[in-house]
Subunit: 463 residues, 2 copies
């Protein structure tokens, strides 16, 4: 072996080794930011492990779900699916179109997992109050202002914002505040709504049997009778259950309005113009789909009303959990980032397509009809938009179908009875905001029901 | 240069390079588990960045706090500290001993950051209900049973558990439920408490002016007068403000009790035996210090009462946020792990030492006195324990010091007036559960006040 060939071998080995060195060093440096992870690592790994559990697209595992004896997360399946990985369809299962569970937005948040998750430290905001003594995150308040400005659905300028445990808590906080800040000779306030109305207005107003206010039925009974009485009218726009853009009916001197705008988002309705009312309620549940987070907010013009609402929330629950506020902040920051339309495009596309499918199925039926909603100009999307409501408000047209709920129940569809909304049981509300599995099954069941009816009609006609 | 010395050089270089390679490869493999992090990485890094903000031990930065123009987190300083890193003491600052903000537990959670933090995915539990249709995490319910069994402060077997937005929400839920499930000829229920009492019992009961119940003052006014009337008595054990282990005072046929056991933990009192009452309330605020999480629970014996409480929480807020339940689960799992005493040791050590310091300072004073609490056997620690209450219940003994709050206020100490608790203003509550900075300052101010009084007395005596 001569000297040069010896050196050649060494130099090949060394070159190879140096190249490996460089690659390794690059790898280490490219991982520098993960190396920094210290106390967050355990929680991050736990979350990724649970998220990677396969549930066949018909369910998901959660961090606080049940686990197997081996410590593996157990899938929680969508309704009508079962089995360890949710791959088995439950035969003849009744589809749940009762609850307005906004699971149709879950895929959006799965697609945006990286930007929408939060790491809550064990020592995160343990105290009762924020630094300014309030119960409200200033950053979250700011992003809510920005959100409404972006969407153009509510004018928030020169108005107060407070938070509640869902708009649920704020409904009663508003009734309390308005009944204490409206002064007339009458001591008790009548609380009313236009039928069909969201049933919680009644049940919540009646819950504590207050001397100050009383649920007093439909607005239609009180038209032109509001001279000296105090009224609080719930105005729901778009209306739950029928999707109409309701307006206030009563206009007496001592009448006050609570605008429940839970569904006044581009997913569910064209937005003709920003609302600019004295008391408006919104909820995260229907905006981002996070119903489980129980986060709502009120936009209030009058300082005295705002103060009374704050008093109610303080004494009732002492504010909204700080981890919920942190999460709402993160989610809303995703909503208003970039071109500010990403989530709205996703949500509207789903809702519109579902409505079109239902309309098509029911268009051939004489037994059932659905609410007719107009196409309208939407200032947010800058175009005329057809309807895309959260619920189908179904009517059984046949004389004998007085109990429409049972007609549907017999076809394995669970809706919500008209009586719950203050109208006859000829009406049923069907939720179309649920998971895709739920909607697909609802669609199939309705299709079967309508086809069966049509073949009976054809058979009768051909006799 | 001869061949062997050339080869030697090459071999030295190659050996060095190979060693570097091996080290690099080891480094890469030791980082393997962090490399797996995918969608959780962004949130984890954000949380660690904020946590690493230096606030001189007198404050902390939060994920949802304000940021500088350069995007750097801004410290939120403890009271009486200021500056960008909380290193500046505010001169003549009034110390806040008003709020019972349990920040003394913050250091424990900072020490246990790794095991107590949670990663909440954007799609975590978006729906209204858990899989079983309830609003309650089964895993969390289980750990609460385990917790009480471990501590031995409450018998939960054969009882129902429900959750609320702090025990705050559950206080009124309990009043609602008991007034609806106790049947006597009297339609309205009298709600009472033994003075000094926690002021929310009164203000919350009066908030909605219900026809069903009415706050009716002190138990002492109703002793031996309970024959046909319906009573709900709040029994607070240990009592807020004075730390006594209160027992029920009224025992009529139609009298029901709500046991508020917020402070019935080994931090604040010896635990003589497990409570086994029909309706007991607890809160995370005073157990782990997470007051901002607004999480409480009720342990209820009677199914009808439990059902009514569930109805109240459903209609009032539709349950406790799912991210709060997830966090409570994580925190309580830390509490009951290992020898199950780690957090209790920490908490008791702090509270006991603070009480000893206050006792020592005030032992030399004739102007002020504090509640005297007995040492008792504690079944949890298996030893006789001296008191370690959450509050000092101070009395100004001098005839002229009728307004004890103002006496302290003049010495830059903010307490809470006796009148708030239904007694004379000769009493003031001082919170000793706040941050260490707050306590240190309180201690110093009290020391100054007592020393000043003593020197005046000495000067007068020597005249």
């Amino acid at each position: 072996m001569d000297m040069s060939s010896g050196n050649l071998n060494w130099s090949v080995c060394l070159s190879f080794s140096v190249i490996v060195n460089l690659i390794c060093i690059m790898l280490i440096f490219s991982n520098k930011h993960t190396e920094k992870l210290n106390w967050t690592r355990e929680a991050a790994i736990a979350a990724e492990n649970v998220a990677s559990t396969s549930c066949s697209g018909h369910g998901r595992a959660y961090l606080d779900g049940l686990i197997t004896e081996n410590g593996r997360p157990i899938c929680e399946c969508n309704a009508c699916y079962t089995g360890p990985d949710c791959s088995v369809i439950v035969p003849n299962c009744a589809v749940d179109a009762d609850s307005g569970n906004p699971m149709f937005l879950e895929p959006f948040w799965k697609q945006n997992a990286g930007s929408s998750s939060i790491m809550v430290a064990g020592w995160h905001r343990m105290g009762y109050e924020f630094e300014d003594g309030s119960l409200i995150s200033k950053q979250l308040e700011n992003v809510i202002h920005k959100l409404h400005e972006t969407v153009g659905n509510a004018n928030t300028s020169n108005k107060y914002i407070l938070f509640g445990s869902g708009s649920t808590q704020l409904l009663n906080a508003a009734v309390y505040a308005l009944s204490h800040t409206t002064y007339s000779s009458s001591s008790s306030t009548k609380v009313v709504a236009s039928a069909p109305y969201y049933p919680v207005y009644k049940s919540q107003t009646e819950l504590l049997d207050s001397k100050k206010y009383k649920f007093s039925g439909h607005t239609s009974s009180w038209r032109n009778k509001t001279r000296n009485d105090k009224f609080i009218e719930f105005v729901t726009c778009p209306n739950n259950p029928d999707g109409r853009l309701n307006k206030a009916v009563l206009h007496g001197k001592f009448t006050r309005h609570i605008y429940d705008l839970a569904y006044y988002w581009p997913h569910y309705t064209p937005i003709p113009a920003p609302m600019d009312e004295d008391l408006m309620l919104f909820t995260l549940s229907k905006l981002t789909g996070h119903a489980g987070s129980r986060f709502g907010w009120a936009i209030v013009k009058d300082k005295a009303v705002y103060d009374k609402m704050v008093e109610y929330v303080d004494l009732n629950t002492y504010g909204v959990p700080r981890e919920t506020q942190l999460r709402a902040l993160k989610l809303l920051n995703v909503v208003v980032r970039g071109d500010k339309k990403e989530m709205f495009r996703f949500a509207h596309t789903v809702m519109r397509s579902r409505w079109e499918k239902l309309t098509e199925i029911l268009s051939t039926s004489k037994r059932f009809s659905m609410e007719q909603l107009p196409s309208q100009h939407c200032a947010f999307s800058k175009q005329v938009r057809p309807p895309s409501p959260a619920f189908a408000w179904l009517k059984c047209e046949a004389d004998e179908d007085k109990d429409c709920f049972n007609v549907l129940r017999a076809a394995n569809i669970i809706g919500r009875k008209g009586a719950v909304f203050g109208v006859e049981n000829r009406y049923v509300r069907l939720s179309i905001v649920n998971s895709r599995d739920d909607f697909d099954l609802l669609q199939q069941r309705l299709q079967d029901l309508v086809s069966k009816d049509r073949s009976i009609v054809q058979a009768v006609t051909s006799l």
